[in-house]
Subunit: 149 residues, 4 copies
């Protein structure tokens, strides 16, 4: 287990906030957002953060370095359920950058209430899925809100 | 973090094996099964294990005790990607039963190759989402293959 | 087949435009947005239109009339694929209101290029899934852009 | 609208039957299987039919002709909802083969009860998404159960 980032419950510790709205398609028969919908929320926030920082993921993938950020590990802690048609402040930050991996932390809030925290661990891979050199720009994204345990 | 189970890489440590086949709808533009598809795989295996043990989840939910098993935490470690139309041996076992939570461990294999391991932590909740007494039958499911760190 | 609405290719024929961004999770191994992702896009646009018109779907469902709009039929025509990280103008309009059903038409555009058109047919049902009286407010939504074949 | 196949309600009109089980992840807050889950069911049945006929889709895609079957149109009619943990007989058949497209019809049953019918229209495309010659083997799949309006 490479995962070691401890996601903060203080939204000011995060670098970027992406707002999304939960879909009815993402609910389940318990009347809440199904836990399987969260990885897509985290990814949407991650992609929005990269884009806001000037590194749109579509360009990162198709660019000269042509890297993908494979998901190596995923951890989600559900504190309170999300429900249909809620506006979710998805706070996201890059932390724990090594030569071959980086970790991203997340805090999902509705209003000021923490609903979930999460961490993903990524590795850079080339178009064939082989480990690749980490793009240099990632180090620029580590900073405000980067949490170490 | 309640999660503490260490999922074994030895399939004989697991109580039950559910076989599933990956769908094209679950692939992504990297040509592999998207990581967001795994929670549904784990859930499908969990439900199949309960059913095989004589406790179909649909009956557990609608029965006199009327409990749902809310997902409190989820952890997935991707060792090698899954690809379209692969047959996945999803090994599953119950471990770490407390008065209010239980943990489930998973090993996903194609042939003899480990593709992913995972752990989910669950709590029993009633129809309104409030914590509920853990059904007695869960203790019967802890046994073969239950791993403690 | 109740479906009879002919969705226009002229965005000015639609009542409401909802903007969404495609997710990486929604792509497939052909490198495009998987066709199974479209029903959720249509629903998101439908919900946004209701909300903008003053009838948030969450309130419609939990209100005194307590109705759901069951999907009876769905038709999607794919003209050109959507790709990852595209901003989609999802034009939506209500047409063909009968005593028991209504139809919704959709045009999905990126820039000025039509990517897909779609129609859904809905019936009002109560909390137990039985046909229910159509809420009166729906007739207010028929108007600009309502297309009849 | 190319779609013209009329899916039969008589299961003996279909060439192939694929059995699948609905997932909890596929339910929604109405307590039924969300309509957005059906395209993946249809695709799973289509892929199983091709595989049973000796033309696994993964090989069709990676073979010398390297074709994908793009979805051009999709129509689903919901007759009665599917629910969690139901075993669905998904009957599937190829009909309406032209030089550039083919149509597939579907009947989804639980027990002997029709839950949904559907039609998809496909075109052969190469790895770059350009229209391609229809593989010859498709004509072998048209036959038993092929419905014309």
């Amino acid at each position: 287990m490479r995962l070691s980032l401890q996601p903060s419950l203080d939204s000011s510790d995060y670098r970027y906030t992406h707002v999304l709205r939960t879909r009815f398609a993402e609910t389940d028969a318990m009347g809440i957002i199904h836990h399987g919908s969260y990885p897509a929320y985290l990814e949407e926030a991650r992609v929005a953060m990269l884009s806001a920082a000037g590194f749109p993921y579509a360009e990162v993938r198709s660019g000269p370095e042509g890297v993908d950020f494979a998901v190596l590990e995923l951890y989600v802690r559900h504190r309170r359920p999300l429900r249909f048609d809620e506006e979710v402040q998805t706070h996201v930050t890059v932390g724990k950058l090594t030569r071959t991996t980086f970790q991203v932390g997340y805090l999902l809030e509705v209003g000021d209430e923490a609903r979930a925290t999460a961490v993903t661990v990524h590795g850079a891979v080339d178009a064939d899925g082989r480990p690749s050199r980490m793009p240099g720009f990632l180090s620029e994204l580590v900073g405000v809100g980067h949490q170490e345990p």
